[in-house]
């Protein structure tokens, strides 16, 4: 792993500095010189895995033979440069390496990509650079290399502390491997390590799972993600459940696990800042926060998603973009055109507002009046939701709050948010359409 001299030192310094930083607790970051339209988060997708987990339906591939890392790296760099140019983004606020299994990539790729970003836009010294890591049997050394390359936050896909469950999920590691990786990660990136834990697995019982969670609390850092298993058609686990080889997960039990789990974490000092994400001492994920606040983000790599206004190409409307899914095809397109954007869909104003609503309510702070105003200066939250009988009903049931801070879910409401949205979204549509076509003014 060879890095060009001065850049390397700069990156290493940035990495070390970032390791010592903490994120402020939920309040908007200090305004930067660049307007919101010139800022974005950057997501980079590494599509390869050693093995496909039985529940996974992400855009991932098991490589046949050796991965041509150099070629993939070249394409990632090219696409990153192209999209930075197309978007006109001047400041990248967070970088996230997801996948696949990004920890299978070489740290050199991470460093090279960060280098390319630094050349095309401003990358703040303390920028959050997250890497998703798979617990393996040789953690320490590799993670340190990633640290040197510029990574300053780690997300470990632990999933379970029960070896049988890990086997059912098709994971390549044991619970012990995971705890070792976690310990090594905490040494390298203190306060910047996140772990994923799943619940609602087939055959899982409430008591034993809570024991797992408590055990995890003894080892984990300041960030935890709790994910309910969702059986997706086309996955091996789905097929096993259908055939009856594996019991069907009980949704009632999963709901109970969620309720108990989040209460347990709250008692342990964690702030549930999003439906599935918990942090203490302010260790939120800046990158993911961008999604829920409907900030711009660039998606680089096969199947990556992006949402940004292509200022650099003269555009004015935010577009939802997705890059070509299949790595080989994606590489061909990047080589030919500089990027492998498969689909671009412009989002109209209403669609953007709907996203602001649906994403914002996933967080504990919800949608503040100021936040809403950035997207819709003319209609405020009271205008949209204040008069609705149904919304009032939800407030009376203690699920929703609409006050001088803004609109947000209560503790109970967060668990049934998708149900609440079915009342809120039509209300938003009505209010928005009414505003667009005002009733005819009587003549005179």
């Amino acid at each position: 792993m060879v890095l060009p001299g001065p850049r390397a030192r700069g990156l290493v310094a940035a990495a070390r500095a970032a390791q010592g930083r903490r994120l402020e607790d939920s309040e908007p970051r200090s305004p930067s010189a660049d307007p919101a339209s010139r800022r974005a988060a950057l997501y980079v997708h590494w599509p390869y895995c050693e093995k496909r987990c039985s529940y996974c339906n992400f855009n991932k591939y098991v490589a046949r033979g050796r991965v041509d890392e150099a070629a993939l790296r070249r394409c990632l760099l090219t696409e990153a440069r192209t999209l930075l140019g197309l978007s006109g983004v001047r400041r990248v606020e967070s970088v996230f390496f997801g996948g696949g299994t990004p920890s299978l990539a070489s740290p050199h790729t991470v460093a090279a990509l960060l280098e390319a970003v630094v050349q095309a836009a401003h990358l703040p010294a303390d920028v959050e650079v997250t890497l998703e890591a798979n617990p393996t049997s040789a953690p320490g050394a590799r993670l340190a290399e990633f640290g040197v390359a510029g990574v300053n936050r780690l997300s470990i896909g632990l999933q379970s502390l029960n070896d049988q469950e890990l086997q059912l999920l098709g994971r390549t590691h044991s619970a012990l491997d995971a705890l070792r990786t976690l310990a090594a990660a905490r040494r390298l990136f203190p306060g910047r390590v996140s772990v994923d834990l799943m619940f609602g697995l087939p055959g899982q019982q409430l008591g034993p799972w809570l024991v797992q969670l408590q055990e995890l609390l003894r080892h984990c850092d300041d960030h935890l993600s709790l994910y309910q298993l969702s059986l997706e058609r086309g996955t091996a686990l789905f097929a096993q459940v259908q055939q009856g080889a594996v019991p069907c997960p009980d949704p009632e039990l999963a709901a109970a696990m969620y309720a108990e789990g989040r209460a347990l974490l709250r008692a342990a000092g964690f702030r549930q800042y999003e439906v599935s994400n918990f942090a203490r001492h302010g260790a939120l994920s800046t990158h993911n926060w961008t999604y829920w606040q409907c900030g711009q983000y660039l998606g680089v790599g096969p199947g990556a998603h992006g949402r940004f206004v292509p200022h650099g190409a003269g555009g004015h409307t935010r577009e939802a973009r997705i890059q070509t899914l299949e790595p080989d095809n994606w590489m061909k397109e990047v080589t030919l055109f500089g990027h492998g954007t498969r689909k671009r869909v412009p989002l109209d104003e209403l669609e953007l507002l709907e996203e602001v609503l649906a994403m914002g309510l996933r967080t504990d702070v919800g949608i503040t009046h100021q936040h809403w105003q950035q997207f819709e200066p003319q209609l405020n939250l009271w205008d949209v939701f204040g008069a609705s009988e149904e919304v009032k009903g939800l407030q009376e049931q203690g699920l929703l709050l609409l006050d001088d801070r803004g609109l947000r879910c209560s503790w109970e409401g967060l668990a049934v948010l998708d149900f609440l949205l079915l009342t809120l979204l039509p209300r938003l549509q009505e209010a928005w359409q009414k505003q667009r076509s005002p009733p005819p003014v009587p003549g005179g």
Partner: protein, 419 residues
């Protein structure tokens, strides 16, 4: 059989041609027929002039005459297939003859209510049914209506298979999907309340709609239509058939051995018990050997009650049914179970109850949602999630609200449909 005898032609099939009218397929038993002859239908006694005769090769090939012993077709200016009934006899108008044996109008054995999935499809379905029955005169058609499903029909078929084929043809050839339901049976009530008698202007009223069901206190007696059914079966199935009839509230009227191996049974059946699957059950039980025929036998007193369906205490008008007291529990339970499976969960518990008056006879519960939120919602998930949410919100608009419970249209369908 002689061509010199007066004309006797048996109609064994008929098709409808848009331009030429009804084309009757005939077999000549006696006589000769040619263009210009004036013929009469034994069944309808209507007179026609023959426009064309011919043979089928298999295409139509017109000829000058058709002779006794030949099989061919005949066009005589009939505009409706019911004018050329299968089994009918045609003869020359000035030479009436004894009708050929074997003419009996097809008696429907299986009935079903047929409704369009959406009332906007009503006209399409209407014309589709009309076209299909043009060439299948064994299907009987009556208008009907339901609170939940709107305007539709009550159709009679020769058997369950006939009904299935008809349904499939509707879907494939006319691209119309329908809802099949257990058909309504015309119950009657003899009123005892002077006020109601004045209102309805007669003492005995027919109840088509459960909403019209008058209360027990105002009624001297309830009546249900009955039929006298005749079953002829090989003797080895007698026991099973008798059990089947008993399960259908039938009363045995007669049992006798026709010969060494065959038994004839006569039972008085409530019409409501045989309209759907009695015939097919009978056939299954007897490996196809039993035969069934029935005739109208008027009305008999019956212990009828109106069964209401309640959701969290709110009555669902569309699902009220009039049933016999004996069958109330099993029907009530089935409806509750079907509703449980088709009602979406809400933020609160839903109690589904079947009730007779104020007495609850069956109950099911739909549990409340404790968790309903997408676990992962990051960059790549947002598009899909928004699409799903918007689609669900659209669907919610079409839901009927009963109390504060949202009921999808297809919940009604699932409850009311047969099987």
């Amino acid at each position: 059989m002689h061509r010199k005898n007066p004309l006797r032609a048996l109609v064994f099939d008929s098709t409808f041609d848009q331009y030429r009218g009804v084309i009757a397929n005939v077999a000549l038993f006696d006589g000769v027929v040619s263009k210009g002859d004036k013929i009469v239908s034994a069944h309808t006694q209507k007179r026609y002039e023959v426009n064309e005769v011919g043979v089928l090769n298999p295409n139509e090939q017109p000829t000058l005459k058709l002779y006794a012993g030949q099989v061919g077709y005949l066009i005589a200016g009939m505009r409706d297939v019911t004018e050329a009934q299968i089994g009918d006899t045609l003869y020359l108008h000035n030479h009436p003859v004894e009708p050929l044996p074997g003419f009996k109008s097809a008696k429907p054995m299986v009935f079903a209510g047929m409704y369009p999935i959406d009332q906007s499809e009503y006209n399409n379905l209407k014309s589709a049914i009309e076209k299909l029955t043009l060439n299948d005169s064994s299907v009987t058609v009556h208008r009907d209506s339901s609170l939940a499903l709107g305007a539709g029909w009550r159709l009679g078929f020769l058997g369950l298979l006939h009904m299935e084929v008809f349904n499939q043809r509707l879907e494939q050839e006319y691209n119309t999907s329908v809802i099949l339901t257990t058909p309504t049976v015309p119950y009657k009530a003899v009123l005892s309340s002077a006020k109601l008698i004045k209102e309805y202007r007669e003492k005995e009223i027919t109840i088509i709609n459960p909403a019209q069901f008058p209360d027990k206190s105002k009624v001297a007696e309830y009546l249900e239509p009955v039929v006298l059914g005749t079953i002829i079966t090989p003797s080895e199935y007698t026991g099973k058939i008798m059990a089947l009839c008993q399960a259908r509230r039938a009363v045995q009227k007669h049992l006798m051995f026709i010969d060494q191996n065959r038994v004839m049974l006569k039972y008085l059946f409530p019409l409501s018990e045989i309209v759907v699957d009695f015939y097919d059950s009978l056939k299954s039980l007897s490996s196809g050997y039993a035969s069934f025929d029935y005739e109208d036998a008027g009305y008999q007193t019956a212990d009828l009650i109106k069964m209401d369906i309640l959701l969290n205490g709110n009555t669902v008008e569309e699902l009220a049914t009039v049933v016999h007291k004996e069958k109330a529990y099993s029907i009530g339970k089935t409806i509750c179970e079907r509703l449980k499976d088709s009602l979406p969960r809400q933020l609160f518990e839903i109690a589904i109850q079947a009730a007779i008056g104020s007495k609850i006879i069956a109950r099911e519960t739909v549990k409340a949602y404790r968790k309903n939120v997408l676990a992962k919602c990051y960059g790549g998930d947002i598009t899909r999630k928004m699409k799903l949410l918007k689609r669900q919100a659209e669907g919610k608009k079409k839901l009927r609200k009963i109390g504060n419970i949202e009921v999808p249209k297809d919940a009604f369908i699932k409850v009311l449909k047969t099987i």
